[in-house]
């Protein structure tokens, strides 16, 4: 079968599976799927920022910014979900913009630490200011998205798991398509060039800082969106959901999956989610297994699981060579 046919067929099969799954699985697993989709959005948007070489450790806190923003806009301002979703995303992007001022003076490891500090500062302000953020306990009673009445058929109630699954699937798919296309266009090349040789990019008249900021804003926007999807499913938000532990999971997902391709981080988060579900019975073992997998990847497959097809090709070639001798 020619290679060019594989991709659309594969995507088609995947789409069918994703559409049918919620009706086959139990509610518990559909919930897992919802969380998985949200986490996929988180890793892909993280990678978008990382195209320039900037690892934003403020990413998870900015997800929280989106969650808090949507919760507050819904509860305090009475805005409907369909409005708070994009607005909360914009809020996260705006907070990211403010963070850019100090952060973009830093590169590499300094940026890594600085972004951690910025995110943590924001998270601590949620704990410090009970009004409006609710302090340690956060915000509860966050309503699900408004139901959609279908004349003659009933209503779509987003408090239920299957409708919420399709909502999450639709929003996540749209966001992924946007980021995929952005990467394929000129802007994607420019961002990768900045990662590769930023002095060269400067010398041809491109303002590197502007592009780093742009990547940061776009990535943070989508982090905010994922936060909105999270808070309206859980019905509550608290600062401990976005602590360093959550960021560490993010980092393990991207290392295991790889950051070189669009699919890499997705492979990472899916693989680790499946594995942690399989060992659910031994919940204390989860961090141990994560650590084990992380070390194994770093030792044997440092580019991440995304590099596996290539590596297997190379190994197959080597085996063929030896067999031929």
């Amino acid at each position: 079968m020619p290679k060019s046919n594989l991709k659309p067929i594969g995507l088609g099969v995947l789409t069918v599976i994703l559409l049918v799954l919620p009706f086959i699985l139990t509610a518990y697993y559909v919930d897992i799927m919802i969380m998985l989709l949200i986490n996929i959005l988180v890793v892909v948007s993280f990678r978008f920022i990382a195209l320039t070489g900037d690892f934003s450790v403020a990413h998870i806190p900015l997800m929280g910014a989106g969650a808090y923003a949507s919760a507050l806009m819904g509860l305090r301002l009475g805005l409907p979900f369909w409005l708070t979703l994009p607005l909360a995303g914009l809020t996260a992007a705006l907070v990211g913009l403010v963070m850019c001022y100090p952060l973009l003076r830093m590169k590499a490891f300094a940026f890594f630490l600085g972004s951690y500090a910025a995110g943590e500062a924001m998270r601590l302000s949620w704990i410090r200011f009970r009004n409006p953020f609710g302090g340690h306990t956060g915000i509860t009673n966050v309503p699900p998205p408004e139901s959609i009445p279908l004349p003659g058929l009933g209503t779509i109630d987003f408090a239920e798991v299957i409708p919420y699954y399709f909502l999450t699937l639709g929003v996540t798919a749209l966001c992924l398509v946007i980021m995929y296309r952005l990467e394929k266009f000129r802007i994607g090349d420019t961002l990768k060039a900045i990662h590769s040789e930023d002095n060269l990019v400067k010398s041809v008249g491109i303002n590197v800082t502007t592009y780093r900021a742009l990547a940061f804003l776009i990535g943070s926007f989508f982090a905010g969106i994922s936060g909105v999807l999270l808070v309206h499913r859980l019905g509550a938000v608290d600062p401990y959901q976005f602590s360093l532990a959550a960021t560490l999971y993010l980092l393990v997902w991207v290392v295991v999956g790889g950051l070189g391709t669009f699919a890499g981080p997705i492979i990472g988060v899916v693989t680790l989610t499946v594995i942690s579900e399989l060992i659910r019975g031994f919940v204390e073992w989860v961090p141990l297994v994560y650590g084990f997998i992380l070390i194994a990847i770093l030792l044997f497959l440092p580019e991440g699981l995304e590099g596996l097809p290539k590596k297997m090709q190379l190994m197959a070639k080597r085996v063929m060579k030896h067999a031929g001798q």
Partner: protein, 256 residues
């Protein structure tokens, strides 16, 4: 008519004086050579002119304006473009992609157009590609346009570096050792191309260690040592200058 003037330019790194009160003027349309022993301040001068470092004192007058303090991308927009040492290419991208990215500066692609793939954008992208290919043809490397930049032989990588610089439509081109490491035939071809660029109206400041290349190509040469200008003139004058001979060229040799 002077296209660029360095006035009393000084750069100190703590105690170390890398550039020591240099005055240097280049006329429009010149092909000026800049030579000096290693550590004499040539690279620092390039970095100062292109905004990668700020001078401790002095002015850089570009078309009547002092450009000191401008960031590198702004200076590139003004028409001053530099090449780098060999390793500064987008190695994971193709030769063509390298040049296309550099064409960015002169494409009328609005910020938001980059996000969409409208018919208009597609047409502009095609035009940019055609322009990039013609630049590669001018440097003689159009046949390797789809190879990865990191896998090219040395000479082609150098040519690509210049093609990238040309994509920015420079008025002043700062060439950083364009023929270092090349054999005599490659060197001659490259220097001929550089002369052609000058004939097409680009002012060029050329740093090179290959004495024969510089002396046979440039009509005027500036010599620096320890951050100071020690001589300036025709190849004949410079090769006969006592200070230059002492610092650099060795006794008794002339390159008329």
């Amino acid at each position: 008519m002077n296209i660029i003037e360095l006035v009393g330019l000084r750069k100190q790194f703590g105690e170390l004086v890398a550039v020591d009160d240099i005055d240097l003027s280049i006329e429009r349309g010149e092909l000026r050579g800049l030579i000096g022993p290693n550590g004499s301040g040539k690279t620092t001068l390039f970095n100062l002119i292109t905004g990668f470092i700020r001078p401790t004192k002095g002015k850089i007058m570009w078309q009547g304006q002092n450009i000191v303090g401008q960031p590198p991308h702004a200076i590139a927009k003004k028409g001053i473009i530099r090449t780098f040492q060999l390793t500064t290419l987008l190695k994971e991208m193709t030769v063509l992609q390298n040049v296309v990215i550099a064409c960015h500066l002169h494409t009328n692609m609005g910020f938001f157009e980059q996000f969409l793939m409208t018919a208009g954008t597609r047409a502009k992208e095609k035009a940019v590609e055609r322009r990039a290919i013609s630049l590669l043809e001018a440097m003689g490397i159009a046949d390797v346009k789809d190879e990865l930049a990191g896998e090219l032989p040395h000479g082609h990588q150098r040519a690509l570096g210049i093609a990238i610089a040309l994509a920015c439509e420079p008025q002043l081109l700062l060439l950083d050792e364009p023929v270092t490491g090349m054999n005599p035939i490659e060197t001659k071809h490259m220097m001929d191309r550089i002369k052609m660029l000058r004939d097409n109206g680009i002012t060029i400041l050329l740093v090179e260690h290959n004495m024969k290349a510089v002396m046979t190509t440039c009509k005027k040469i500036t010599v620096v040592n320890f951050g100071e200008k020690i001589a300036e003139g025709s190849p004949q004058e410079v090769s006969e200058d006592k200070n230059v001979i002492e610092a650099y060229l060795g006794r008794g040799e002339t390159y008329a």
